[in-house]
Each structure stands twice: as structure tokens, then as C-alpha cells.
Amino acid sequence: MKSSRFRKALRFAPLMVMALPGLAYLLINNYIPMAGLVVAFKNYNYAQGIWGSEWIGFKNFEYLFATKDAFVITRNTILYNVGFIVINTFVAVVVAIVLSEIAKRVFNRIYQTVILLPYLISIVIVSYLVFAFLSADVGFINKTLFPALGIDKSIAWYSEAKYWPVILNIVNLWKGFGYLTVIYLSSIVGIDKSYYEAAQLDGASKLQTIRKITIPLIVPVITMMVLLSIGRIFYSDFGLFYQVPMNSGMLYSTTNVIDTYVYRGLMQLGDIGMSAAAGLYQSLVGFILVMVSNLVVRKLSPDNALF
């Protein structure tokens, strides 16, 4: 008995060895340093090192909750991330379905490349592209678009906070949906053709085919991507919230998120304990949310849960 199980396991040995460098890297880079999380609870002193510094309990976490700003940044972080998940997923699925219907392979390739391109552009360059549109002095919108539409005034985009939820969602969508589309497209392509043939025989319309076949069969992939995004719900793309608004103070009420708040607050102080506390807070919340969401999904449809 034991020898046959061992023999079975041996068949997977090459795969295990292939995975070994990656696993070792994961262990050394991600798991072992977790011990250093204690820094978040200590008052770090260079002379005493991590293990010798004194414990100060939760004091390093206070600055994240103490002020009115704390509510603003938490609200901003969550709302933006929820918005990003919903909008990006919706658009990516729609575009993936549309792309899967295109007959000619050449065009398919071209479109995929074009929509994936923004994902690869550095966010700093993107911030300057946005600046070219929104600059109060020389921007495209103020100088060209508004006069063309007959609108007389010019808006100081970088001074008005209220436009930025929309602007940042658009920028994030433009930059990110290509990546998701490619993923969804690859899973659509993997759907068995016989389903479509059967549907055609039954006289289903295009829309019905999409609703009843395509979407239900890619729900597992969508669920997986959404669950993974939920795990990062307290993190933000630093470049998106710091570079794109050009670090303009007047926009803070709608563009300040946890990451940028910590950065601005600690640049001068350089306090290692406080920044570790912020990181711990973000990952802990993300972890709890992933577990909870996974539980919910498992109750609703056990096949789609991550684990």
C-alpha cells in the first residue's frame, strides 16, 4: 500500500522539483520575514535592534485612527477599490465577450494588444498624459475641447476635488481593464464549442447564448479574480493616487488614501514602527475580508470558492 502511494507521489516529483525554486523564494521572501511584523508593536531603536527594542503595544497604530483624516482616507480607499472592482470587472467581461465574437484572428490580436498596452505604461507617464488633458493653462480639455463644444469657461481641474472620483475611475479603467479582458477572454475561448452548437440548434438568440452559456461558464474565473481583488481592498495603487493628481493638496479630500496618507505623514518622521503598523493593518483587513468573502461564496455556490 505504502509503496504504491509513494510510487504515485514519485510521478509528481519532477513537478515538485520545478516548483522548488519558486517555493523556496516564497518561503524566504514572504514567510520568514513575517517574524519582523513585531516591529509594528515596538519603538524601534537602532542600537537595540528589532528584538531588543521596547514593546509599546498598539501605540504605532493610533495615528491611523486618531484624526478626522482617518475616516476620510479609509472611506476613500474602500469606495475607490469597490468602484474599481465593479467597473473594471463589468467592462472587462463585456469587452471579452465582444472580442470572442470577432471572426478574423488578425483583428482579435490587434485589439488585444491595443487594450493591453495601457497596463504596461508606467503610472508616472500616465500622470503626465492626464496632465496634458487637464492642465488649467494648456490642457486639451480646457484649450480645445471646451471651445469646440461652445463652453466658455475653463475648469481648474487640479484645484477642484469633486471631479476626481470620476477622473481616477476613468484612468484606472483605461489602464487596468485590458489585463482583465485578456484573462476573461482566455477562459471564454476555453468553453466547449458543443454548448454553442446545441444552443444554435435550439434556436437561441445571440443575447440568450451569452446570458445562458458564456457568462455562467466564466463565473468561476470572475469569482476568483474578484476574491483576489477583495484581498487587496485596503491597498491602493500609490502611483494612481499620488502621481496622477500631481500631489495637489486641494484634492486630498477625494484622493487621499491610506497609502498616500502614511507616505506623507512619515516622510519626515521616518518611523519604521508606524509604517509597519500601517502595512499590518492593511494586510490584516484584506485577509479577514478574503476569508469572509470566500465563506460567503462557498455557501452560495461551493464550486466557485477559492478554497
Partner: protein, 513 residues
């Protein structure tokens, strides 16, 4: 058999590839530290008992490419080896990576013997135990240094009366004023020397803006320091600007909230007026161009800045036009200004005594200073014909191909001992010394604020000032509407607590004087 062989071959290939991948990624990730670390251990056997020269690792700012670092270090070492039997290894680190890399080196116990520290981190770094106390060396190894620097300046490197760092000698005071384009100023009949007050300045702007409607009249220093901050600074900011002493620290020792004073309100109203008249660069808050770049592009007439002797020549070089300066706010020294950069010994310094001996040379020996500032004579610089302390590039060398284009003389020891680069006033450092000696000195010089007890409030306050300050101080928003919001936000973030803490520390420091 064939199948097993294939599998084994595949596994071996993958392992080798993984190893290669990991190996090649290391140098790019940690080039400065690992490369110099290895060089250091190989260079000489550190043993200060047997007469072998001791090697010190000296970390400093190094922007851009410095391909001749080893040559310069060798040259410097040859001088120091003769004098004090010490060899120096230079470790240039870019400004952007500085904080991270020094933190890593100190907490990782890597060899690091001399490092310079900027003022905004000094007191927190000392509180965190990063540096050695150097009092015991001040009367022996660093005797001459103590005389040259002087007690007043040395006090800026002390915390609670204990010496941790030595400020470099450079411009130890700052005056504030405006730098104009000379041609335009003269075109409209003004003379830079006559402009002494803000009223004089406004008169100039009125006339020039009428004549040059497409130009901006004034600006600050880029999008991080505003006009109010650069033109009208008459306060000792006591470290972080949250709680200041008014009138250059000449009057009393009451720490006040600068942002709630009538003086501040007056400045904001004035700047708002200027902005509405179109005198200030429109996108001031988001504009990433520096003032000199805007002057170069013909869009800006003048800008407000901190001044020191020779600034007009410097600005002239970066902007391409001849520039003149007017001083509006006279020179004064504060702890922040004096202690902008101090030299310290990190706690993992192996040879503190030798390091202090070298530091002594940095402040007293012109050869050492010039070897670091300018490089090797004949290779990186040559003396100008007939001049004793003017230098320039040798034949065939210019600023784009020089091997040692550091040009950060203000960081290294005593800049007053350094050669002057051609194009600047040969008496530059004589004038600089006079500038330093005649500046008004704040009575709080030497006081360092330790923010450890109010860390959370400071973090919140930094966010508040980042949100409101620039737009108010460039006049971009309505003062009546936004100043109350700013003041309220400061209170909510705890500025009164910080001020009370600062006052308590200041009183305690005064008691020790």
C-alpha cells in the same frame, strides 16, 4: 531509462536557470552596498595596533554618475594615510535612496564609519540610537575642529547637551529676497540695490507686468516651497514649523502657532492679491518646473528664494540670463539653518577615534577638502593661469564627461577652505564667512526638538499642511474661505499639543544654558 534521463536533465537545467536568475538579480538590487562592501574588506586589513592603515567607509550624497569614485578615494587616502594613517573609502548614495540605504546599513551592522545627516532627521535619528556620542573626542582628536567650527555652531549638533554631530561649514545663515532678470529690471528703470521692502517689490511688479503682459512676475522655489515661505521668513521654525519663535528668535521664547498670527494672515492677503493680478505662475501648486527653468524659457521675470553670496551667478548659470538679487529679509541663523547637514558617527563605526581624526582634517586641511570636493588635480580640475584658488576643467573635460562631477562642496567639512570654480567671485568664501559672521543669530540656536512624544500629531499635521499650505501661500484660493478651514484642521490634528510639547522642551533646554 531514456525517460528518466530526460527528466533529470530537465530538472538540472531548471535549477541552473533559477540559480543564474537569482545570482544576476543581486548586483542590480544592491550594487552600491555589496560592491563597496566587498572592496572594503579586500582593500586592507583593519588593524590599528600594528601600524597598518585603518580603512574608514564614508557615505555621502552622490547624484548622477561618479565613475572615478575609486580614483578620488585613492587620492584622498594617499593624503590621509600620510597624515593620520587612515585610508578612506567613498560610498556615494543617491539622494533618493539615501534614507533607506543608511537605515539598512546601520540596522544590518554593515561597515559604515562616517555619515552625514540632514537636519530634518537628526533629532529623531538620535532618539532612535543611530549615532555615537562624540563628546569624549572633542578635546583630543577633534581639537582644531572645535576651534574652527565654534561653540555656537557646534550647539546645533547637540541633543540634551551631548554632541552627536558636527555641522558642515557652508552658508550658515540665510537671507531671503528676490532674484530678477537683470535685463528686464534695467529696461524698466529699476536698480536691484534699491529694492529693499515688499512695497518696493510691488512697485516693480506693477510696472513690469504692464510692460510684459505675457510673463509671470514671480514664483517660489518650485511646487514645494511657496512665496510666503521664501520671501517673508522672519521666524525660527524650531525644527518643523509647528510652533515657531517670531522675529528671528530675537525677542522672547514663546512658541506660537505661526499660521494663526496676524502677520501670516497679512502675507496671505498680499499673495492672494498678487495671484488675482496674474503675477504668480498659474499652476503653481502642480507645476514641477523649477523657477530657473521657467526663467530660461522666458516665462518668468523673477522668483523668491533664499539667498547667499554668489547666488546671482549660480542662478545665472541655470537660467541662461544674467540675474541680480535683492535682499528683502536680512540674514539670520537658526538651528535648522546651521544644522542642515551634520557629520556623525553611526553606531556601527569600527574606529571612532580614527574617524574623529579624519573629521578633524575635514575642517582644517585644505588638501583634504579639495580632494573630496573637486577630485584629482590634473584629472578633474586644473588651476586657472595666474590664480591661486580659482580652478576650472582641464583640456578636453567638461561637465558631461568629467569623472567626478559631484559639486556638493557644502556637504564636506569646511567649504571655506575649498577652491573656487571659475566664473564665480574669487573672494566668494571670504564673503561667505563675512555673511555667516554678520548674520543675526536666533537665541534658540542649539535647541533641537524631539518629536517622539507627539509622533502621531506630527504625522497628521504633515498631511494637513500638505493639503492647505501651498495653495494658500501661492494665493491660489480665497483666504477668507480657506484659512479658517486650515486653522481648524490644524487644531483637530493636534497642533496645540505639539506646541505645548515644544515649549516644555525649549524651557528645559533654556534651563541648561
Amino acid at each position: 531509462m531514456k525517460k528518466t534521463l530526460l527528466i533529470v536533465a530537465l530538472i538540472l537545467t531548471l535549477l541552473t536557470m533559477a540559480a543564474c536568475g537569482n545570482g544576476s538579480s543581486n548586483p542590480s538590487g544592491s550594487t552600491p552596498v555589496s560592491a563597496d562592501g566587498e572592496a572594503g574588506s579586500g582593500a586592507s586589513t583593519p588593524d590599528n595596533n600594528s601600524g597598518e592603515p585603518v580603512t574608514l567607509v564614508l557615505a555621502h550624497f552622490g547624484g548622477g554618475s561618479l565613475p572615478d569614485t575609486d580614483i578620488v578615494a585613492e587620492n584622498l587616502s594617499s593624503i590621509t594615510e600620510e597624515l593620520i594613517n587612515v585610508r578612506i573609502e567613498l560610498l556615494p548614495i543617491t539622494f533618493a535612496a539615501w534614507e533607506q540605504q543608511i537605515n539598512l546599513m546601520v540596522s544590518g551592522g554593515e561597515k559604515l564609519d562616517l555619515v552625514h545627516v540632514m537636519m530634518n532627521n537628526f533629532s529623531t535619528d538620535v532618539a532612535k540610537g543611530k549615532f555615537l556620542a562624540i563628546d569624549q573626542y572633542m578635546d583630543n582628536e577633534a581639537k582644531e575642529l572645535k576651534e574652527v567650527v565654534g561653540d555656537a555652531y557646534l550647539s546645533a549638533g547637540q541633543i540634551d547637551g551631548i554632541q552627536y554631530g558636527v555641522p558642515s561649514i557652508r552658508d550658515m545663515a540665510a537671507s531671503y529676497g528676490v532674484c530678477f532678470r537683470k535685463d528686464l529690471l534695467e529696461k524698466y528703470g529699476f536698480n536691484a540695490d534699491d529694492i529693499k521692502t515688499v512695497e518696493d517689490l510691488e512697485a516693480v511688479y506693477e510696472v513690469v507686468s504692464a510692460g510684459e503682459p505675457d510673463m509671470y512676475m514671480t514664483y517660489g522655489q518650485g511646487n514645494s516651497i511657496s512665496i510666503v515661505n521664501q520671501l517673508l521668513t522672519s521666524r525660527d521654525d524650531l525644527g518643523n514649523g509647528f510652533g515657531v519663535l517670531l522675529n528671528r528668535g530675537q525677542d522672547d521664547f514663546n512658541v506660537v502657532n505661526w499660521f494663526s498670527t496676524d502677520e501670516y494672515r497679512g502675507y496671505l492677503d498680499m499673495v492672494r492679491d498678487w495671484y488675482l493680478k496674474g503675477w504668480i505662475v498659474a499652476d503653481a501648486v502642480t507645476n514641477t518646473e523649477s523657477a530657473t527653468t521657467l526663467v530660461k524659457g522666458g516665462q518668468l521675470f523673477s522668483f523668491c528664494t533664499n539667498l547667499k553670496p554668489g547666488y546671482d551667478k549660480q542662478a545665472g548659470l541655470s537660467s541662461g540670463y544674467e540675474m541680480v538679487t535683492s535682499t528683502i529679509s536680512p540674514a539670520f541663523s537658526t538651528t535648522t539653518q546651521v544644522g542642515v547637514l551634520s557629520w556623525c558617527l553611526p553606531i556601527n563605526c569600527e574606529y571612532p577615534s580614527e574617524a574623529m581624526q579624519f573629521m578633524n582634517l575635514m575642517y582644517t586641511n585644505a588638501d583634504v577638502v579639495n580632494a573630496f570636493d573637486w577630485g584629482v588635480e590634473g584629472v578633474h580640475y586644473v588651476k586657472v593661469e595666474g590664480e591661486d584658488n580659482l580652478i576650472t576643467y582641464p583640456e578636453g573635460v567638461n561637465e558631461s564627461n568629467t569623472g567626478w562631477g559631484l559639486n556638493l562642496g557644502w556637504i564636506f567639512g569646511n567649504q571655506l577652505l575649498s577652491y573656487v570654480w571659475e566664473g564665480n567671485d574669487p573672494d566668494l568664501y571670504v564673503k561667505l564667512k563675512e555673511f555667516n559672521d554678520t548674520a543675526i543669530i536666533s537665541k534658540a540656536l542649539g535647541f533641537q526638538f524631539d518629536a517622539t512624544n507627539v509622533k502621531n500629531e506630527v504625522a497628521a499635521l504633515q498631511n494637513v499642511t500638505a493639503e492647505y499650505r501651498l495653495s494658500l501661500e501661492y494665493g491660489m484660493v480665497d483666504v477668507d474661505e480657506n484659512l479658517p478651514k486650515f486653522l481648524q484642521a490644524l487644531e483637530d490634528a493636534g497642533i496645540n499639543k505639539v506646541i505645548a510639547e515644544k515649549q516644555a522642551q525649549l524651557d528645559a533646554w533654556l534651563a541648561l544654558q
